[in-house]
């Protein structure tokens, strides 16, 4: 009996060891492109392609990105980084605010047509983006919003997905808290932002980080509505320069890619728990 337990134990710990080894091994290709990217951005051009560990480092590529004027004008990369931050933050704020307001009405208030609106929101999530690309572009053109921040933000300001998540979570908050706030004379808006949101921190953060990430990653829409280098978000500017002026400068490309990656990695590492929770919870955001 003693021997049997010992064998079984050994077998178990070997199994565990194997599990951890496989998981660690699998992590290598997940992380490798990031490491390669950062290294490449500091390499001299001759070593970018075929040497993994550089023999000498250079800041030349970052100097090009940050300081050198491109085609005579002021370098737009810093501006593009600021544009990306602005557009992503404003959209995130808007998605959270209107998601909470609409989600609250759908979860906690009674009015005729509520279930109709609910179904409409689920229905909206089924439609692929390609259907809207052209007419939204025409709409934005008609409004004179090509090459403006409004134009970039317009299609993303409110999200059916965010409303759905807030609605689901707000339904679980006890009615007594809302009643108590009403007795204290709180308006519905104050109930939403001072009672409901503070009680729904994780949902709020999940909505915020996923929205910010998808705006940071957005490419096609920005490509269509921005023509002016000074207004482009970083994703589009880097994309166009990579295909254009910098097409034979891999060092500058990787420096640009690093610049585009670092902010979102900071957000990922600060909120990684919410990223994993958000996926497990909803499985909805595609």
């Amino acid at each position: 009996m003693g021997r049997y337990t010992l064998n079984r134990l050994n077998f178990r710990s070997y199994g565990k060891l194997l599990t951890y080894s496989l998981l660690s091994l699998g992590l290598v290709p997940m992380v490798f492109p990031y490491i390669w990217m950062v290294l490449a951005s500091f390499k001299v051009p001759a070593e970018i392609f075929d040497r993994f560990i550089p023999t000498s480092l250079t800041l030349e590529h970052y100097r090009m990105i940050f300081l050198m004027g491109s085609t005579g004008s002021a370098n737009p990369f810093i501006r593009a980084l600021a544009n990306s931050l602005l557009v992503s933050s404003v959209t995130t704020l808007s998605v959270v605010i209107f998601g909470a307001i609409t989600g609250y009405a759908l979860a906690r208030l009674r009015f005729r047509g509520r279930s109709l609106l609910n179904n409409f929101i689920l229905f909206q999530m089924l439609f692929p983006v390609v259907l809207f690309l052209i007419p939204r572009f025409l709409l934005v053109t008609k409004l004179g919003w090509i090459n403006t921040y409004q134009g970039m933000i317009a299609p993303f300001m409110m999200s059916a997905w965010a409303i759905f998540l807030f609605r689901q979570f707000f339904r679980t908050i006890p009615q007594e808290l809302i009643d108590a706030a009403r007795i204290d004379g709180c308006s519905e808006l104050r109930i939403i932002f001072q009672v409901m949101l503070p009680l729904s921190k994780s949902v709020t953060i999940i909505v915020a980080v996923f929205t910010f990430m998808s705006m940071w990653d957005e490419f096609l829409w920005y490509l269509i509505v921005t023509k002016d280098y000074n207004l482009m978000p970083l994703s589009v500017l880097l994309g166009l320069f990579t295909k254009g002026e910098y097409s034979s400068y891999p060092g500058i490309q990787t420096a640009g890619a690093t610049l585009l990656t670092i902010p979102i990695l900071i957000i990922f590492f600060s909120f990684r728990k919410f990223f994993t929770e958000g996926i497990a919870l909803s499985g909805i955001k595609g």
Binding site: L23, D50, F132, R136, L220, K243, Q253
Partner: protein, 292 residues
């Protein structure tokens, strides 16, 4: 107007007030474009001119006869055939491994998710350079006497693009599977054990069937993604070599914003949306089962 207002109870007004912004927004940015998009699909219209002529179904007929539509269709199918099985196999493997451990589980989970946050443009740049003819991957493969023309051979360029998208979403799908695995009650395995079912039988008779909701959602995501591929081929191959990485969205982009034919682009988009609906519907019929 008065009679409608008279019917609204005062306590309903708050609700209507709060949903009003979303309602108006949806009308402007969702309903109106949807209708407009359909209506211009029946017109011949160059964006920069004001002349629009009604041409009936002619745009749709043209799309069906457009060789590039069928090339994009074929490429999309190729993408799916590579992307979906590899994604599912790898992410289910990672999820099964993650499900076996407690210590460091969240470390590994977020480790695998790190690729998910990388921006399309950034990782396209990185993979384009890493997998280029003389890039690091081929340099290493050269050590054992192989070079693979990842993005430059028309035969495998689309498969290479599918592989880098696998990289991006691997952790994401793994976490969906992991959530599914954790929702399976341990007691089911225990009673199977008592009945003498081995690990392999347990896997195929319990784990796979009970993961059905996760499989369904991943299939739906993967199909919708396949019909929307744009950034990676736009950045890496530009649709080439020999149109082997042309996708639906690239074609819609080209017809509308390079060729400026909004009507044609619109009917193209409607046909693509219809096909993707059909695929999702079909896959749900096949995959989705009621496990309750």
């Amino acid at each position: 107007m008065n009679s409608i207002l008279a019917k609204v109870k005062p306590n309903e007004l708050v609700g209507y007030g709060l949903i009003l912004p979303y309602l108006i927004y949806s009308l402007i940015i969702w309903v109106y474009p949807l209708i407009w998009g359909v209506s211009i699909a029946f017109k011949r219209w160059n964006i920069i001119s004001t002349e629009k002529t009604f041409v009936g179904l002619s745009n749709f007929v043209q799309v069906i006869h457009d060789p590039l539509f069928w090339i994009a269709f074929k490429n999309t199918l190729y993408f799916m055939v590579v992307y979906i099985p590899i994604s599912i196999f790898l992410s289910l493997s990672v999820a099964l491994l993650l499900n076996r451990i407690n210590f460091l589980r969240s470390f590994f989970a977020s480790g695998y998710l790190i690729s998910y946050v990388s921006a399309g443009v950034a990782y396209s740049i990185v993979f384009n350079l890493m997998f280029s003819g003389n890039g690091i991957i081929n340099t290493w493969l050269g050590g054992i006497g192989i070079t693979i023309p990842w993005f430059s051979s028309p035969k495998i360029a689309m498969a290479s693009i599918a592989l880098i998208v696998v990289w991006k979403f691997l952790g994401y799908y793994s976490l969906i599977f992991l959530a599914g695995l954790q929702s399976i009650p341990k007691s089911i395995y225990e009673s199977a054990e008592i009945d003498g079912a081995g690990k392999i039988i347990q896997f195929f008779r319990i784990t796979i069937p009970l993961l059905n909701p996760s499989f369904t959602i991943i299939f739906i995501f993967a199909i919708m993604l396949s019909f929307n591929v744009f950034t990676e081929p736009y950045m890496i191959t530009g649709g080439g070599p020999l149109d082997s990485t042309q996708t639906f969205v690239m074609q819609i982009y080209y017809h509308t914003f390079t060729n400026l034919h909004a009507g044609y682009g619109s009917s193209f988009a409607i046909i693509v949306a219809a096909i993707s609906f059909a695929f999702v519907f079909f896959i749900r019929k096949i995959v989705e089962k009621d496990i309750a």
